[in-house]
């Protein structure tokens, strides 16, 4: 009788991650806090605890004691397909990791499971499978021409050819959420900060591919990271500013990992940069905003890399801003719903999560819901529009621009 092979392999799952599956004691904290589980109406498969349970069962069926003695137990493809759907119903927000009493790094576990299944030909989810082709071909996920990377730049913005600082716009701000790009560039000019940009040499950060388990397809994220780092170095930059939380996280965490070495420059989120300037007294405000503002922590800026205070510092120093906090903030904030490929793959789920977050903001009675990520801004605006409520959604950098009497169009 032919020896049966296990139905699953362990590609992309590290030995430590396999151990983490046995570390879960099923306390259920992750389930209480998971934004997609809540927004889905508590669909059992989306609960982080149950994803871990299932993969542990798959491992035991394939490599455990019974498998050793009697051969691996088959896991039907339909079951793996269902698991794939559930593991992709996650924005990789990381709150499960924050509350996990066993200290499991759940975000990387989900990403590893996704990559494992994609390699098996199961997944990713829906339109996410377009990412490698789009980003590989166009160098951005929006099918825009790379030549138009700087098409948004207005005549009044001065960009250096080379400078100590490079402003990395990111695909979403550079092609879609242009107000952020206008705001960031004008603010830097106003503050006398010389900066360069990469133009058509700015390629996608690769985050969308890495988060959806597709980093291995044609090695696209590695090529993106390598190219971006070389392009930044050619500009002579010592520091790279990011106004997008996703790009910032990719540069800070993913690029060094992909390239296997530390980056030859510092990566800074624009909120951190501005907070530093405010502390040095280098910002002379010109206009009072006179609004109540609440702040949504982008997952990739907050939980993933620990930047919570800088945006708050900036907001609370903008004249006229009355800053109020939502109920769930900092490491316990509720995700906007867009990340992890969910906006592309499961737009209804992304919308439901966004609506929950907008409702959190409405509870504060704030006039403005602010954030530090164009992708959060996009999804929160969609959530607001879906709820048909009156709430302005503006990035922190846009409010800074306003307070410096700068246009964001």
């Amino acid at each position: 009788m032919a020896k049966r092979n296990p139905s699953i392999d362990t590609k992309n799952l590290t030995a430590v991650q396999l151990m983490e599956l046995d570390a879960c004691v099923r306390c259920g904290e992750c389930v209480k806090w998971c934004p997609t589980y809540a927004a889905s109406g508590e669909k059992p498969g989306l609960a982080p605890r149950d994803k871990i349970l299932r993969w542990r069962q798959y491992m035991n069926k394939s490599y455990g004691l019974k498998a050793r003695l009697f051969g691996p137990q088959e896991i039907p493809i339909s079951e793996l397909e269902e698991f794939k759907d559930d593991v992709h119903g996650c924005t990789t927000c990381g709150i499960c990791s924050t509350v996990c009493e066993a200290g499991i790094n759940t975000v990387e576990l989900w990403e590893s499971m996704r990559a494992n299944l994609v390699k098996k030909g199961i997944g990713p989810y829906g339109k996410q499978n377009m990412f490698p082709k789009l980003i590989g071909q166009y160098r951005n996920p929006y099918m825009k021409d790379q030549k138009d990377r700087l098409a948004w730049v207005p005549p009044d913005v001065k960009i250096e050819d080379k400078a100590d600082i490079v402003y990395f716009t990111g695909c979403t701000a550079g092609y879609n959420q242009l107000a952020l790009a206008f705001a960031t560039s004008r603010v830097l000019n106003k503050l006398g900060i010389k900066f360069a940009m990469l133009g058509e040499d700015e390629w996608c950060c690769g985050s969308a591919l890495i988060r959806t388990g597709q980093a291995h397809i044609n090695n696209v994220p590695y090529e993106l990271a390598k190219h971006n780092v070389e392009a930044i170095q050619k500009k002579g930059a010592k520091k790279v500013l990011f106004a997008c939380a996703g790009c910032f996280r990719a540069a800070k965490v993913d690029w060094p990992r992909l390239l296997g070495k530390e980056l030859p420059f510092e990566v800074v989120h624009v909120s951190e940069f501005l907070a530093g300037l405010i502390k040095e007294g280098k910002i002379k405000w010109e206009k009072s905003i006179n609004k109540t503002v609440t702040y949504h922590d982008p997952c990739h800026l907050g939980r993933h890399v620990g930047v919570f205070d800088a945006p708050r510092y900036v907001l609370s120093h903008i004249p006229g801003v009355k800053f109020v906090e939502m109920d769930r903030i900092k490491e316990f904030q509720r995700c906007c719903g867009a990340g992890g490929g969910v906006k592309a793959g499961l737009p209804d789920l992304a919308m439901a999560v966004a609506e929950s977050r907008v409702k959190d903001a409405l509870d504060t009675k704030a006039d403005i819901l602010s954030s530090c990520c164009p992708f959060c801004k996009r999804n929160l605006m969609d959530g607001r529009d879906s709820l048909k409520v009156d709430l302005v959604v503006e990035d922190v950098i846009e409010l800074v621009a306003e307070a410096l009497n700068l246009e964001t169009k």
Partner: protein
């Protein structure tokens, strides 16, 4: 009544027989741990890597990968010092305290009770062994056991209270009960059984509180039962059940630098 275990006065368990039972339990435990470490070791040695094609999982691979992750810098740029993790996260279990005071109390009671009783049992065994191989100590094994009777009782009650909180919570808190599976029930069930059997065995022997009016001649079989199921469920059973978390969680916390 003098302490001994066995089916009856005539069929007392000897030290050597107990040693054999212990060795069997340890062998079962070690076999389970080897399979578990090999299962873990079937994973890749680093982020985004693949395990070697055609190669069986290796315990050494797991240990090397784990150690590498413990000692390398966190890619996220944050992480706690090892000593802080050992004391505050592993011993003090602050990650549980941050989430729920009640669950922290429950688990700390179980943890402190179980670990201390395990250590005290180990100490009594060591003294017994030392005596058996002819090394003279300033006290006899019987005297040592009597000295430890109060700590055994104290930590036995600590464990029991923790276990009872766990059982009540799992039975009467609906969200916990509805989420429970056999994997959960078995662990709390066996811990409860071992704890209660210990109290019963000693109670029947001493005639104090836990005797329930039972015949003292039942004390040796009760002690034997407690010894055997302790060896079975507190040592042998670890790798085959949810008990594995007592090994996996400290390793996970260290590897992930205290967690997010």
């Amino acid at each position: 009544m003098v302490y001994f275990s066995g089916l009856s006065d005539a069929l007392r368990i000897t030290f050597v027989q107990m040693m054999i039972l212990s060795a069997i339990a340890i062998v079962i435990f070690l076999y389970g741990m080897i399979i578990t470490l090999q299962k873990w070791g079937s994973g890749a040695t680093g982020y985004a890597l693949e395990p070697q094609e055609g190669k069986r999982g290796s315990a050494i691979t797991f240990l090397k990968t784990w150690w590498k992750q413990v000692t390398e810098k966190s890619p996220h740029g944050h992480g706690k010092p090892i000593l802080e993790i050992l004391i505050l996260d592993i011993l003090f279990q602050r990650r549980i305290l941050k989430r729920s005071g009640l669950r922290w109390v429950m688990h700390i009671l179980i943890f402190a009770g179980w670990m201390t009783l395990f250590a005290l049992s180990g100490l009594m065994f060591s003294v017994e062994l030392t005596h058996m191989i002819g090394i003279e100590l300033p006290f006899t094994p019987h005297m040592f056991r009597e000295w430890l009777s109060i700590p055994n009782y104290i930590f036995g009650y600590i464990l029991l209270i923790g276990v009872l909180i766990a059982i009540v919570r799992r039975l009467f808190v609906s969200e916990v009960r509805e989420a429970s599976i056999m994997y959960d029930w078995v662990l709390i069930g066996v811990v409860f059984l071992v704890t209660i059997s210990g109290f019963l065995a000693d109670g029947i022997r001493t005639g104090l509180i836990w005797d329930f009016g039972l015949d003292p001649s039942l004390a040796p079989p009760a002690a034997l039962f407690h010894s055997v199921i302790s060896l079975l469920f507190c040592i042998a059973f670890i790798p085959y059940s949810k008990y594995i978390h007592i090994i996996a969680i400290p390793l996970a916390l260290l590897a992930n630098k205290g967690g997010e």
